[in-house]
């Protein structure tokens, strides 16, 4: 089977999203399976979004914010970190492999690091195979509309 993982990435506007833009302006090539959603601050990213992405079929979810101490909004990234760690524990309990959910700090100047991060995560998910959130539910019992 030709498995092409889909990664949904939530990127903060000021660091990671700008870093991803820099990867573009620097013409760095990386795996085409990441779909980026722009958020003003990683502090806005809540578990609901991440779980929703898995539910919709994402094979991996990537969250990127500013490096510790560099948050555009003082400490949003720390708030994201705390929430993320709790969510990570929950997600593991739910049988989703740890490798499918990643939090990384990417600065506006780290286009290269972003490209590498996407490639590494893609490789890790390729090894794991497709996410199983959707397959697990017995869909035939659900109402059709």
């Amino acid at each position: 089977m030709n498995f092409r993982p889909t990664i949904v990435a939530f990127l903060c506007n000021w660091c990671a999203y700008t870093g991803a833009d820099l990867a573009g302006t620097s013409r760095l090539h990386y795996a085409p399976n990441v779909r980026i959603i722009r958020i003003m601050c990683s502090g806005r990213i809540e578990p609901t979004f991440i779980l929703k992405a898995f539910k919709e079929g994402a094979d991996g979810v990537l969250v990127c914010g500013c490096h510790p101490g560099d948050c555009h909004y003082q400490e949003g990234n720390y708030k994201c970190l705390r929430r993320f760690k709790l969510l990570e524990k929950f997600v593991c309990q739910m049988g989703i492999e740890k490798e499918r959910l990643k939090l990384e700090w990417i600065s506006a100047s780290e286009g290269k690091q972003f490209a590498e991060l996407v490639n590494e995560m893609t490789a890790a998910i390729l090894k794991l195979g497709p996410g199983k959130v959707q397959k697990t539910l017995e869909l035939e019992h659900l109402k059709t509309n």
């Binding site: 929430r83 969510l87 524990k89 109402k143």
Partner: protein, 326 residues
């Protein structure tokens, strides 16, 4: 009630799917008000209280039941069948109680597969002696013929994932007073809330009614399980480090658990602004962790032994993920 008496009596059904029976008891807990209910409505189907066969219900004309209170989750083929039958026969189908609404306590089974549950229940429990490792099968031939039991599904479903639901009355069980309020509105038949509404509950979450002292100092250095601290009976549980689902849980119960000095567990489900109360609560609790150091954060989180069970005690099947991934 005299006015209602002049109207034709409503036809009322109460059914239980995967439930503990508490919801049916909550209907009885209306005490003398139950007389008002039966004055206004004929009970056409209520397995716990009266002997009517499924085939009798199946032969009723479509939409002939005015109101069905369906409690319990959908866990097996029988639950699903009856959900579909009652949907067809009822004008208004209400998911009554946390299980029908969100999956409830039976929904915790979604942390396991059916095989794991069978293995535990029929082979591994300390009280089981089952050397042949017999597990239930849906159909068996005996001398007298074929015996059939319902098929247990791998998943537990809230009612609205199987059939369309008109209203939801949350609670484990719902407060009987709120049932009476809702019943009065529905039997009056006017000013019905829009379909899909949660009724018999507040718009705001529990903190709104909670009498405990709350502040904006929601920083937690250590989480405790309720028995690990001496509750001061005055301060917000969360500010004492005990996770209380109150902020993410619709009010309407009268903050009963907290009034009894026990943190809210979330049986009334999410308010309108959120779909997944577990996720919302994780967001809130996670943010309150009073540390910026990844290792210390891990240590603090260690005290939350079972986030999935804690944050999704009543809501797992109805949550975004719905069940553990297998």
């Amino acid at each position: 009630m005299s006015q209602e008496l002049t109207k034709p009596k409503l036809k009322l059904a109460v059914y239980w799917g995967a439930a503990c029976g508490g919801c049916c008891v909550s209907v009885l807990d209306t005490h003398e008000k139950l007389l008002d209910i039966v004055a206004a409505a004929d009970l056409v189907f209520w397995p716990i209280a009266m002997d009517i066969k499924y085939k009798d219900v199946e032969s009723m004309p479509d939409k002939s039941i005015d109101l069905t209170l369906f409690n319990g989750a959908v866990r097996n083929s029988e639950n699903k069948h009856m959900a579909q039958v009652l949907r067809q026969k009822s004008k208004i189908l209400v998911a009554y109680g946390s299980c029908a609404y969100m999956g409830g306590i039976p929904g915790l089974a979604n942390f396991f597969s059916k095989n794991e549950i069978f293995k535990r229940a029929y082979e591994e429990t300390e009280s089981t002696v089952n050397p042949e490792k017999t597990v239930p099968i849906t159909s068996v031939q005996v001398k007298e013929g074929t015996l059939e039991i319902p098929l247990m599904f791998n998943d537990v479903f809230p009612l609205n994932q199987v059939v369309e639901v008109d209203y939801y009355i949350p609670g484990c069980p719902p407060q009987s007073e709120r049932l009476i309020e809702v019943f009065s509105v529905i039997s009056a038949g006017t000013n019905l809330p829009p379909a899909g509404s949660v009724v018999g509950a507040n718009d705001k979450t529990n903190c709104d009614e909670c009498k405990r002292k709350k502040s904006d100092k929601k920083k937690v250095k250590r989480f405790y399980r309720p028995w690990e601290i001496q509750d001061d009976k005055e301060t917000c549980f969360i500010e004492q480090g005990v996770i209380c689902m109150g902020p993410a849980t619709r009010g309407g119960c009268g903050v009963r658990c907290v009034e009894g000095n026990s943190p809210c567990r979330g049986c009334y489900g999410p308010p309108q602004g959120s779909s997944d109360p577990g996720a919302k609560m994780m967001a809130a609790i996670g943010t309150m962790i009073d540390s910026n150091d990844p290792d210390e954060i891990d240590e603090i989180i260690e005290a939350i032994v079972d986030p999935a069970g804690l944050f999704y005690r009543f809501s797992l099947p109805g949550s975004i993920l719905g069940r553990k991934v297998l």
